[in-house]
């Protein structure tokens, strides 16, 4: 068994690659399950050995990819505490927030490929939970949109600036309106603990969704 630290070659990169690939699938699935976009733009694919729905709308796909491209360096350096998919009503007030709380251990024990296979199994469980979460959530009002939030630290955002310029995808500090939700109902969906990452997914749902 080999023990690597975060400073060792590729450790942070491997974790960021795995998480960003997972987040991409999760975001598409959330948008499908919560009917943020017409169901016609989604196509059935297989990820983590389970069927998922992925958008085929070029602009939306690019938006998700650009978002994750900017988040990836934060995850790589363990600077992204939470990644949040926020579904907002017509007035841009959050109605639901899917919160991915991420923490990475300072040391990594690499034993074999079985490790990655184990992580894949754990991520599959998240996907399955997301695909059935509509059963426990109230319907959203019509005309919802979505955005992404990242909980990080000021210094880390300064390191992001170069990537933002290259991708022409600037980020700003979120308004209170996007961050706060009145009397949210907390719905835990899934928790995983692996050698390379700990992650918790929960939904915060606004008590009164309809206008």
């Amino acid at each position: 068994m080999t023990t690597l630290t975060r400073q060792d070659l590729n450790f942070g990169q491997v974790v960021a690659d795995i998480l960003c690939e997972f987040l991409e699938v999760a975001i598409h699935l959330i948008l499908y399950v919560r009917e943020v976009y017409p169901t016609g733009i989604f196509q059935k694919r297989k990820k983590y050995n389970v069927p998922v729905q992925m958008s085929c709308h070029p602009e939306l796909n690019q938006y998700i990819q650009d978002t994750l491209h900017c988040i990836k360096p934060l995850i790589e350096k363990n600077d992204a505490e939470k990644v949040v998919v926020v579904i907002m009503d017509k007035e841009h007030h959050p109605v639901e927030r899917f919160v991915f709380e991420i923490s990475q251990p300072p040391l990594l024990s690499v034993s074999s490929d079985a490790l990655l296979s184990h992580v894949e199994q754990l991520l599959r469980a998240f996907i399955l939970k997301i695909s059935v979460c509509d059963a426990i959530l109230d319907n959203n009002p019509p005309g919802c949109t979505f955005t992404m939030l990242v909980h990080t630290r000021e210094a880390a955002t300064r390191n992001m600036e170069k990537i933002q310029v290259i991708k022409d995808f600037p980020w700003i500090v979120a308004d209170e309106q996007e961050v706060q939700m009145r009397e949210p109902r907390l719905i835990p969906l899934k928790t995983m603990t692996s050698d390379i990452v700990k992650m918790q997914l929960y939904v915060e749902e606004r008590a009164q969704k309809m206008p």
């Binding site: 943020v36 976009y37 017409p38 016609g40 733009i41 709308h57 602009e59 939306l60 938006y63 650009d66 978002t67 900017c70 505490e81 005309g143 919802c144 949109t145 979505f146 955005t147 992404m148 939030l149 990242v150 909980h151 990080t152 630290r153 000021e154 210094a155 955002t157 995808f169 600037p170 980020w171 700003i172 500090v173 979120a174 996007e178 961050v179």
Partner: protein, 40 residues
Amino acid sequence: NSKDNDQKVVIMPCKSAPSYQRVQLWLQAKKEYDRSCKTT
């Protein structure tokens, strides 16, 4: 301690995701295009 001075922040993309209406229009156009391809 510099870590203590490093404030927590919540950030978001400046750009908005495409709206439902915009995506709906694209979908209608795609369906019409697919239909026209089948008939010709």
